[in-house]
Symmetry: C2
Subunit: 406 residues, 2 copies
């Protein structure tokens, strides 16, 4: 494809105007929205209002007057349609890691006599680590089975199957309905991590019969660095499952200040401490970038962007090996290519203004956020990547220096 | 005392200029900094920089380039001198509730064969609730003993004594060194909740030999609504205690993305998920309001403000009963008075521009933040309170309507 052809695709893209909802720096092609979503244009004013007006002028009164106390449920209601959930099945709280802990512990308590958390090796590390932390302190085993043998491994020792819907490295996507059904046949609960799915691919938790889910606020939901995370519990389980992290904000009546814990009847029972209001305000503005956007068109565009990138890179960068599914229907909205020197290659690419990321040991990872990524971006990114590889620019020793986060 | 005399105290207050570090709304006397600290003048620009420049322009690069990854340790280093700790004994993470869970679980693991968490009835609810959540899922008992019998109740069944240093209702303060020594004599660990202490009264964790502590970022530390909390582990315990919430940010090398958890050697081991960067930025600006402030003068002023309030209220409001220690050395930096109709009295008072808070069932609570509260504020607050009570203004039915947070 030529650059003009890519531009022609942008000209007929029904979502091209949505890019204006984001403030992107000059001279950068940002292909890392799967790690940290870009800044929505409305966010600075929204955060400033929360800081200056709600906190500065409203002070403590804003818990009621500015609706701070309802923010975890209100923001969750904006996430629900992106994940196939009802508003009353979702709440925004804490981090993905902590929400995993809550739901794993609740699932184990709901399946007495079963002691296994079933997952896959190479799952996102925090998912594995949180499960290992539970296993270290209780009669629980973490069983990690390669993904193509997960279904057959679900037996009556398994309390909960914990999988990431879209893999953080390869973008390979599980069939949510099929795996969930297999878990249920064996009497296990199904917990999905949607960190790389929510806002990027169609998700239908209710339709798939999922039990539990968590996900991240700072990737495709554009909530900002370290945004609060979300948590889903299917309505049929709501009254039966309780958080092990029984903080005051999950209490049925926190402001009676009683000595004995009793969980709230709603999803608020999954809150623990005081909600992070600045983070919630930014996340609410992030989710608002989806307002009125046709989701079928959005996800189709994400697939087309990634397809274009795969085609251009494979045509022009023979030293790279595709590490993601070629079939767009089987993957999320990011693409990885393997290269033995992926770290310096990515460093050189970032130096040229194309921001993807490196995932140890050998992956170049590129995220395609259809809200703000254009076909021209993708074409140019492939072009610059080919030039970095062809020129050997990445061999410069300065590209081998690592920061804390690499 | 006359108002002119109160103003004369302000005129000679060595900290009078520090008030300019805060933006306080016109027409309000804010005596609720013990619940939500006021907005530091520098915070809006600091948060805007984090949002617009670091996130918007730096994007994912800011984890390294803007020092986001080090924020939990960097902000903690600013808290350490306020609580008598070394910088490498403190980290900022999650909420007070979640940090209580981490440290209670770690303490129980460190004292095998002991099954009791000893606390007091009427401790801040989330402290009790988090302990109850642990007891519900393990062979652990929560023993709640009135504070005057705590020391004698520490026996060899007690793994950890969990107390709030300054009581959230009465402001009564424990003698940290005495109770800690008693816990140690019985072989128990001592966990202090400093939520109503840090930044308000002298705290010397290291000097008292404390083992563990947590505290809140949004009260006297002025970090904003739902600010992240902090956590302290005495250096001698650091390598021995680990978090049960084994998230990737506590891993020794999170960006190697390995499958097996191994805790970081530093206090970073107490992190769990991705740090909340907007909240950390605001908290850092909040803690900076203490820069260069003489702490002895600060705490002495807090005592003098509260003493003045007690004297004026007792002289002019005979229907109120002091519910806090009269001796400033035995209390924190807030004062509570009991009244059978405390809720409508406080609502009427807030309507007159004096913001304190109500604590069920019968307390009017007033916080004195010496960084920004003047003696004139205190005099006028007492004057308006006397007028609200004398006039019966609080009997208006509209003052009985309750919001979600009351």
């Amino acid at each position: 494809m030529t650059r003009d052809e890519a531009r022609a695709m942008d000209a007929v893209d029904p979502l091209r105007g949505v890019r204006d909802r984001f403030t992107l720096p000059e001279g950068v092609i940002y292909l890392d929205g799967n790690s940290l979503g870009a800044l929505p244009t409305a966010t600075p004013a929204r955060v400033a209002q929360t800081v200056e007006r709600e906190w500065g002028e409203g002070l403590i009164r804003s818990w009621n007057d500015a609706g701070w106390i309802d923010a975890p449920a209100r923001v969750a209601a904006g996430i629900a349609p992106l994940i196939g959930a009802r508003a009353d099945e979702v709440v925004v709280a804490d981090s993905t890691s902590i929400n995993l802990y809550k739901l794993l512990m609740a699932a184990l308590a709901a399946r007495p006599g079963r002691h296994v958390i079933l997952t896959e090796p190479g799952n996102f590390p925090t998912d594995l680590y949180m499960a290992q932390g539970i296993a270290a302190g209780a009669d629980v085993d973490v069983r990690a089975v390669p993904r193509d043998r997960i279904i057959e491994a679900i037996d009556d020792s398994v309390a909960v199957v914990m999988l990431t819907h879209v893999h953080y490295r390869t973008a390979e996507m599980f069939d949510m309905a099929t795996v969930t059904a297999a878990a249920h046949r064996a009497g296990a609960l199904m917990l999905w991590d949607l960190s790389h799915s929510a806002g990027a691919v169609p998700v239908d938790l209710d339709g798939a019969g999922a039990d539990l889910a968590v996900g991240c606020g700072y990737k495709y939901l554009n909530g900002g660095p370290g945004a609060p995370a979300f948590l889903y519990v299917a309505e049929r389980h709501r009254a039966l499952l309780t958080s092990p992290l029984t903080g005051w904000m999950g209490h049925v009546a926190p402001f009676t200040f009683g000595d004995d814990y009793a969980p709230c009847a709603t999803m608020r029972r999954w809150l623990c401490g005081t909600p992070p209001i600045l983070g919630l305000a930014a996340l609410e503005a992030g989710i608002a970038t989806f307002d009125g956007v046709d989701r079928a068109a959005l996800f189709a565009k994400g697939q087309a962007l990634a397809d274009l990138f795969v085609a251009e890179v494979e045509a022009r960068c023979p030293s790279l090996t595709l590490a993601s599914p070629r079939d767009a229907a089987r993957r999320g909205s990011h693409i990885s290519f393997a290269h033995d020197d992926a770290f310096p290659v990515m460093a050189a690419l970032i130096d040229r203004g194309v921001i993807g990321d490196f995932r140890a040991p050998d992956l170049l990872r590129f995220g395609f956020t259809p809200l703000y990524t254009s076909f021209d971006d993708v074409w140019r990114a492939a072009d610059i990547l080919a030039d970095v590889l062809d020129s050997g620019a990445w061999n410069d020793p300065r590209y081998r220096a690592r920061g804390a986060v690499t």
